[in-house]
Symmetry: C2
Subunit: 199 residues, 2 copies
């Protein structure tokens, strides 16, 4: 009675089909327009059978997130194992992380919640750029280099923003669960970047 296994294999296959179909839809039309009925269409079933494979839509997203983490970990590990000197390893690992994000854009968005709304938003929202200019001014003054080029300031600003925004994200996501950042740590980070700016 090996048909049990064959059936189990088939079930596993449509489970994977659901995940693949979902990712395909998202790649074509974005997370916003992923719906159970569209998934069902793509795998040539009707919507309710999806619930035989996943508890609900969130379950699908969860599984894709897991898939993302596994892929990411594999990439990072591979980069690590390819070298032996720690500093070089660390660099390669972060580059692997970076590459993963852009090779698996949709998964990365799902895993870390990068909202793409802002994309066209900034064009019609001048207010979004006002505060930037304040930072630009002051960064320019902090830089020891006299009259630094615009794009260098820009890069410094983005480095700053990255750190602060990243720290905020962590604190919001990990809220309550250990690892709370206090103001001292924030100040340390800022001082560190200011020092880094003038290298």
């Amino acid at each position: 009675m090996g048909s049990k296994e064959r059936i189990a294999r088939l079930k596993e296959e449509t489970r994977i089909n659901i995940l693949d179909a979902s990712l395909d839809i998202v790649k074509d039309e974005g997370w916003q327009s992923l719906s159970m009925r569209k998934i069902a269409d793509k795998i040539e079933y009707t919507a309710p059978i999806i619930y035989e494979y996943f508890a609900n839509k969130e379950g699908i997203l969860l599984e894709l997130t897991r898939k993302g983490y596994i892929l990411l970990t594999a990439s990072v590990r591979k980069a690590m194992n390819g070298l032996s000197e720690p500093a070089a390893q660390l660099e390669a690992m972060w580059i692997a992380y970076w590459d993963f994000a852009f090779e698996n854009r949709e998964l990365y968005q799902l895993m870390f919640g990068v909202d793409m709304n802002c994309c066209e938003l900034k064009k019609i929202m001048p207010e979004a750029e006002v505060s930037n200019q304040l930072y630009f001014e002051i960064i320019k003054e902090v830089m020891e280099d006299e009259d630094p080029p615009e794009d260098l300031i820009c890069r410094k600003y983005y480095t700053f923003w990255s750190v602060i925004h990243g720290l905020i994200s962590i604190n919001m996501v990990n809220k309550g669960r250990g690892m709370e950042m206090n103001e001292q740590i924030l100040k340390d980070a800022i001082k560190g970047i200011i020092k880094y700016i003038n290298d």
Copy 2:
């Protein structure tokens, strides 16, 4: 006939009421469950009248985003004007940014798309922590300090992650529109942080 103005003032008032009600709902139940009908309920109207004040739901979010940016800019500017020494100014400005994010959590999420999904997600997803440990190992090796405390490594990791994640976010959001980050810039940033790590 000054009643024209009175009416205009009333209209402006319910416009503000809509925005306030929206933010209230979001503070109570999150962005996910903000709906036109709920807003209408809260301002004691029916859903369609909202469309007399905003083109659609996105219009409301857009206005709240604008409000966020104006508030943020005011905070940052105030911090800036309170000091005169550039480095101190810069620090105060980023602290103001930080404070804004946590005093206006919901607005910050809207402005920069911090997805709160992950919050409870990480508890049921051990895969999400595997790659962290790889980084922990290597960061430990890179640090010159022999046998550094766990939470210091953690902090260094988060600094790294913040920069990389921030840079990725910028590149995803600003995709196509100038300011593209190439690998060289990424590598520079990584080298910079490695140097910063050992201070």
